[in-house]
């Protein structure tokens, strides 16, 4: 044996901190269209390069490139753009609403809108998404009315979730949107179980689970992937790698060592790594994985590489732990701008229509918020207190009945 050296503990640190220049020089970004697209029924063993690649469709000029480019009608693309812009307008407004003290909490998905929106549009009405809190774009793409969301955020008397949940922890079964919770990760395995149930029943519905890159460190992640692999569950398991988990950079979740898509290799399922700010690439990857799932070939893990352009939540100030210019320096750009550029390049869109659409959506959001405010903001209005004791069980037991009585409700 060699003479022993002294060991030292390695603690990962990001390339830059507040005061430093943002540094993305370590990134290896292939050209759009460069990555091959194997048929979706290819054996996993034939695709072990893909987790280390980065599937991109839109090039710097907004032109679609390569095998992954989906053929989408301009209407569909405009629908996607609309949903992304609506998401952004909603986020902007409701963030300010929280700052005005009208609710307790809010989280934006700025910079990541393409993922939720394209996934929502690429999957079927009966498929089920097991989302994270950054997936309101899914609902926007499916035209979920805004007012119930606003009421949920205000926890007011019209809140469909009866004031029981923190703002934005929606549930919308009819829109294929599973109940959120504040715990990260713990619903990833539900997606797998739901998909297994569909297979068990001989149905054709598939599920999509979503998890943040930081949350892949939870045991839940591994357990979900293990079950998905063993039973070949018809599920798409997505990692939204926005490179930050509150104040922790992705190196704390393992990104110094490999890609998140490479985690697929542990389970012998395909792993795709996709430019998450490229609407077309997201769509294509989801469709590929969905088709594979519907062919009964099981699960796919997809890493969507993106960047969390704003703070973690209204409780966070990212300038405390990363250069404030970092978002601007992020080389994969803004998903809205990139889809807009693509549509314009195809002569299917122009600046004027874009501005008009933003104005229209801003107004739509404003109106919904006003309407919600009329029902009442947090603290002004709430559902009947008896709702506190409902739905704990199917039927309340004596404890809940007595306690409700003690409350005088």
């Amino acid at each position: 044996m060699k003479p022993r050296s002294r060991l030292a503990l390695h603690v990962p640190a990001p390339s830059s901190r507040p005061g430093d220049k943002p540094d993305f020089s370590g990134l290896d970004i292939p050209e759009a269209g460069e990555i091959r697209r194997p048929p979706c029924d290819t054996a996993e063993a034939e695709m072990r390069d893909l987790p280390y690649a980065l599937i991109r469709v839109l090039d710097d000029e907004g032109a679609p490139q390569g095998d992954w480019a989906p053929r989408l009608s301009p209407d569909v693309l405009r629908g996607g753009l609309r949903a992304m812009l609506l998401t952004r307008a909603f986020d902007e407004r409701l963030f300010r609403i929280q700052r005005q003290g009208k609710t307790s909490f809010y989280m934006k998905s700025t910079g990541e809108e393409a993922i939720a929106v394209a996934a929502s549009m690429a999957l079927g009405a009966k498929d089920m998404c097991f989302p994270t809190y950054r997936f309101v774009g899914w609902l926007m793409a499916r035209s979920h009315p805004l007012l119930p969301l606003v009421n949920q955020i205000f926890s007011n008397e019209k809140d469909p979730l009866k004031g029981r949940q923190l703002p934005i922890l929606y549930s919308a079964r009819e829109y294929g949107f599973y109940s959120l919770s504040g715990n990260v990760g713990s619903r990833f395995g539900h997606a797998v179980g739901w998909a297994m149930a569909s297979a068990y029943k001989g149905d054709d519905k598939i599920a999509m689970g979503v998890i943040g890159e930081g949350t892949t460190a939870e045991g839940d992640f591994h357990e979900a992937l293990t079950f998905a692999s063993v039973y070949r569950a018809p599920v798409i398991l997505a990692i939204t790698n926005n490179q930050w988990a509150i104040s922790s950079f992705s190196g704390i979740a393992g990104a110094e060592a490999t890609t998140f898509a490479a985690k697929a290799l542990a389970y012998g399922i395909p792993g795709l790594r996709v430019d998450g700010n490229d609407f077309l690439a997201v769509w294509a990857a989801i469709r590929w994985a969905a088709e594979r799932a519907r062919l009964n070939l099981g699960a796919t893990l997809i890493e969507f590489f993106t960047y969390r352009a704003e703070g973690h939540s209204t409780s966070d100030d990212p300038a405390k732990y990363r250069p404030s210019e970092e978002a601007g320096a992020w080389p994969l750009g803004d998903p809205v701008e990139r889809l807009k550029q693509h549509l314009i390049a195809q002569n299917e869109w122009d600046e004027a229509r874009h501005e008009a659409l933003i104005a229209e959506l801003t107004e739509e959001v404003r109106a919904a918020v006003k309407e919600g405010e009329r029902a009442g903001v947090l603290g002004q209005s709430k559902p009947s207190v008896k709702e506190m004791f409902e739905n704990v069980f199917e039927e309340p037991d004596w404890r809940l009945i007595e306690q409700r009585r003690e409350m005088g409700s």
Binding site: Y178, R187, G189, H190, G193, W194, Y200, F227, F393
Partner: protein
Amino acid sequence: MPELSMIKALNDALDVMLARDPDVLIFGEDVGYFGGVFRVTDKLQEKHGATRCFDSPISEGGIVATAIGMSAYGLRPVVEIQFADYILPAYDQIVSEASRLRYRSNGEFIAPLTVRSPYGGGIYGGQTHSQSPEAIFAHVTGVKTVIPSTPYDAKGLLIAAIECNDPVIFLEPKRLYNGPFDGHHDRPTTSWAGHPAADVPEGHYAVPLGKASVAREGSEVTVLAYGTMVHVSAAAIEESGIDAELIDLRSIVPLDIDAITASVRKTGRCVVVHEASRYAGFGGELAALVQERCFYHLESPVERVAGWDTPYPHAFEWDYFPGPARVSAALKRCLETPA
């Protein structure tokens, strides 16, 4: 009626439900081809097919997470955790997810799953094959916790649990699997044969969740117990010659508070018995409730007989186990106090 052990009664309940309801399915470690390490799922795979009863990875968290997803889809999964000691990796899924899904989604999604698990000591299983974790589930709102003490109840309660639209933790007293163990480990073991509660009807029947049963009527003191401790308490009552009323709670959530208060108001004394460690165990809740609701009827403090506040130690199985002698002593302490 056929005479069944508790294992066979549980197996029968599962068989009945698999046959009745295509949405019922079973999975867990070793439950498929092999039929479970305690044989509770014996032959169910052979009879109902591999997708109705199958092996799972060794991942209790994954088992429960998957079952919740299935139940959100509309199935009624019945999962086995091989030993209740190993339910802890699934604790977060049970508490943070199963128990709250209905509440937080305002009923859009529900989790009608059943988590079966053998619990309790008395089989020389050492620290990690002996524990009784009921208290940590009782504290969690939104989940029911059921513990049978006879083959008849085991079948009827398990069917009720599977049919229940709330998540149910179903703890099976493994020391009772093959016979009505009364805590006398030094006597020959007895089987369920000949026991009245081993007369298990064929087919479907349910024992409602939340209804206690009076295992023995009596006037001097009320004993509250569940699972193995029902039999141990019965032995202690018999041996001490005290005319105690023995209540088998059958489920601790929902709890049959009326049966408890009615009995203690009648007897004026109460002993609570469980095998789990005493401190912050479910006996604390029972004692608290009894003194809250029967204070002016109580002639003596509510006594608790429980496992010691140590891990469950292999060599000291019978020193740890709260056997009939300890229960008898508590009964006597109760009665000795000035009326």
